[in-house]
Symmetry: C2
Subunit: 334 residues, 2 copies
DNA sequence: GTGAAAGCGCTAACAT
DNA sequence: ATGTTAGCGCTTTCAC
C-alpha cells in the first residue's frame, strides 16, 4: 500500500463532486443509481476508506466508547469487558479499555485524554468517581457494577438480596456459625453485600461483629482476613465471601490451617466468574449475569449517545445461586 | 462545563495570533517570555485543552496504540495488557485493547477500523495474522508472545529451552513417565514448547507419542486431554502442561480420577501467571517475565513510531523455574 | 518574535 | 440529482 486515497481522489476518478461521494458513502441525500455505481466502482478501484479522524473533527464525535475498570487482573472485569466489547464493536464503535486501579487521578487523566479525542461515551466501574467530577467533563456515561450517583444511569445487581440468599443458604445447609469476609467499605456493592449478610446474621443469637473481616476484594486480603477469622473463631463453619476472587484466597487460608472445604467449612461467594468452576473445590456462588449486565450497559450508553437521550436509567439484575463443591449440607457425605 | 474553547478563543483573549498559541502549546518556535505568560494565563482562564482530533487530522497520527490479544479471559493477557497499558499511557499514548479470539476476520476488522482512526501502531499477539496482510495496512507493529514473520519485530521468550528445562525438572525429581499436554499446533510458541518436551522425552526409552495430547490452550481442552492421557496411561507420573491455565484443567482432571497432585502426579506448566499461586496445589511453572515482555514490546513500538525506525528487532527473554506445590521429589514427604 | 493563510479529509448547508 | 463551498481545530510554512 502506497498512499491513502481521499474522497477527492474518488470524486475525480468517478467524475463527480466530493459531495456526491460523501452522499453515497453515508447513504443520505439523493444520488442516481448510475452515479452510485460509478462511485462504488471508484471506491473499490482505489480501495478507498473514509478517514475517521476527519469525520470526527467535523462531527465532534469519534465512534469510540471506553470502559473504565478498577482492576483488569480480577477476572470479573475481563468477562465484563468482553461483553461491552462485543456490543460496542458490533454497533460500529471502537472499544477502549482503561484500567484505573480504582484511583481517581488515573480516572481523571483518562477522562481528560478521552475527551480530547472526542470519545462518545464511557461505561465506568468506579468507587472513587463523583458526579461532580463527571459533570465537568460532560461525557455521556453509564455506571456499571457500582452506582456513582442517582443522576447517572446504572446497571447493577441486587447485591443485598443476593448476599441475604447466600447467607441464608449457609444456614439452610446447617452451618451454625457464619462469618463474612467483606469487600472494601468504600465500594458500594461491598457495603450492600455486607448489609445482606447482616440482614440474616444479626437475627441469629450467635452473631458477633468479630465475624466480619475486611478482605480488600483481592486474593491476598481475603486470605489474611480468613486466617484471622478462622484462628480467632475456630467455631466458624460457614463463610460468605464477598467475591469469587476472594473466595480463592479463603480456600487457601482454610487449607493453610488444615481445614477441609467443604467438610469442615462451607464457603459461598459472589460473582460467578469462570474461574470459580476451576478451583478445587469449585465455588458455590451467587452468580451475576456478567455478560448481560455488560451488554446492557453498552446498549444503554449507545442509546444515550445516539439519541441524545438524557434520561437516567437504573437497571438492576438478579443474581442466581450456583451450587458447586465449596459448600456441603451438614451430615451429608460426598 | 458549557462550550469547549478553541485555540482561537485563547488567541483572542491573549491578544495574539493562533500561531503563537500553537507555538507555546507545542513548545517550538520563538515566543517571547512575555507573550508566553499571556498565553498561559489565557489557557488557564479558559481551561483550554487542545483538540486531539484536529491534531490527528493534521498530523496523520493519533497518539493511539492498540494491543491485539487472542483471549482476554486467559489471565496471561490481562497481565500482559497491564504492562503495555502502563508503558504506553506513561508515554502519552491512548491505549486500546482488542480481543481477537484468534480470528483473522476480527483482526482484519480491527486493523481496518484502527487504520481509519490513524492509530500509530499495534502490538499483536496472533497465530493467524500473516506478514502479507499486515503489509497491506502499513501500520508499525511489534509481535508479542508469538512470532509472525522475521520481518516484523518481536518480543518472545525461549519457549523451547524453557520446555526442556521443565521436562528435565520432572525427570530430576524422579518422574518415570512424563507426558505432555500441548497447545494448539497453529500457535508457534506451543510448537516450540512441544519441541522442548521432545528434546528430553525422545531420549528416554519409555517415550511414546501417545504421551502427547493436545489441549487447546484452555481449561476445558486441557482437562479432557489430561483425562485421556491418565486413563490410557495410568503409569504417567509427570506432566508438562503447555500453559498455566491448562494446568488448572489438568489438576481438575487428576482430581476427577482420584489422583493426588503432587503425590501421584507431578505437574509443571508454563507462563507464571498470578493465578498459579492461588490454585490448590499452587503451580510449579516456567515463569515468563510477563510484565517486562509487555513493557519491552511497547517500548520497541513507541521507538519505531516516534523515530520512524524501520529496523526489525527480535528480542527473546528467558523463563525461570518457580517451584511450588504441584510437583514433588519422589520419596520426599510433605 | 509574531501573524496570515493554506490545508489535513470530511460533511452539510446552500445553490442550481 | 448534483456541485460549490465553508468550516470542524489545529499546525506549519512563509512573510514581515
Amino acid at each position: 500500500m502506497t498512499e491513502m486515497s481521499t474522497i477527492r481522489d474518488v470524486a475525480k476518478l468517478a467524475q463527480v463532486s466530493v459531495a456526491t461521494v460523501s452522499r453515497v458513502l453515508n447513504g443520505n441525500g439523493y444520488v442516481s443509481h448510475n452515479t452510485r455505481e460509478k462511485v462504488a466502482a471508484a471506491i473499490k478501484q482505489l480501495n478507498y476508506r473514509p478517514n475517521d479522524v476527519a469525520r470526527s473533527l467535523f462531527k465532534g464525535r469519534s465512534k469510540m466508547i471506553a470502559l473504565f475498570v478498577p482492576d483488569i487482573m480480577n477476572p470479573f472485569f475481563p468477562e465484563l469487558a468482553r461483553a461491552v466489547e462485543d456490543m460496542t464493536t458490533q454497533q460500529g464503535f471502537t472499544f477502549v479499555l482503561c484500567n484505573t486501579d480504582d484511583n481517581l487521578n488515573k480516572e481523571m487523566a483518562y477522562l481528560e485524554a478521552l475527551k480530547q479525542k472526542s470519545v462518545d461515551g464511557i461505561i465506568i466501574v468506579s468507587s472513587t468517581m463523583t458526579a461532580e467530577y463527571m459533570e465537568n467533563f460532560d461525557i455521556p456515561a453509564v455506571a456499571l457494577d457500582r452506582i456513582i450517583h442517582t443522576n447517572i444511569s446504572s446497571v447493577t445487581v441486587n447485591n443485598r438480596e443476593g448476599a441475604k440468599e447466600a447467607t441464608q443458604y449457609l444456614k439452610d445447609i446447617g452451618c451454625r456459625r457464619i462469618a463474612h469476609v467483606s469487600g472494601p467499605e468504600h465500594v458500594s456493592n461491598a457495603r450492600q453485600r455486607l448489609k445482606g449478610y447482616l440482614d440474616i446474621a444479626q437475627k441469629s443469637e450467635w452473631f458477633n461483629y468479630e465475624y466480619i473481616e475486611q478482605g480488600e476484594y483481592n486474593f491476598e486480603g481475603a486470605k489474611k482476613a480468613t486466617q484471622i477469622l478462622l484462628t480467632k473463631h475456630p467455631e466458624i463453619d460457614g463463610l460468605f465471601v464477598a467475591n469469587d476472587l476472594m473466595a480463592v484466597g479463603a480456600i487457601k487460608a482454610a487449607e493453610s490451617l488444615g481445614l477441609s472445604v467443604p467438610d469442615q467449612l462451607s464457603i459461598i461467594s459472589f460473582d460467578g466468574i469462570k474461574l470459580g468452576e476451576t478451583t478445587s473445590p469449585a465455588l458455590t456462588t451467587m452468580a451475576q449475569p456478567i455478560y448481560q449486565i455488560g451488554a446492557r450497559a453498552a446498549e444503554m450508553l449507545i442509546k444515550q449517545v445516539e439519541q441524545n437521550e438524557a434520561q437516567t436509567l437504573v437497571e438492576e439484575f438478579s443474581v442466581k445461586l450456583i451450587e458447586r463443591d465449596s459448600t456441603r449440607k451438614k451430615g451429608e457425605n460426598q
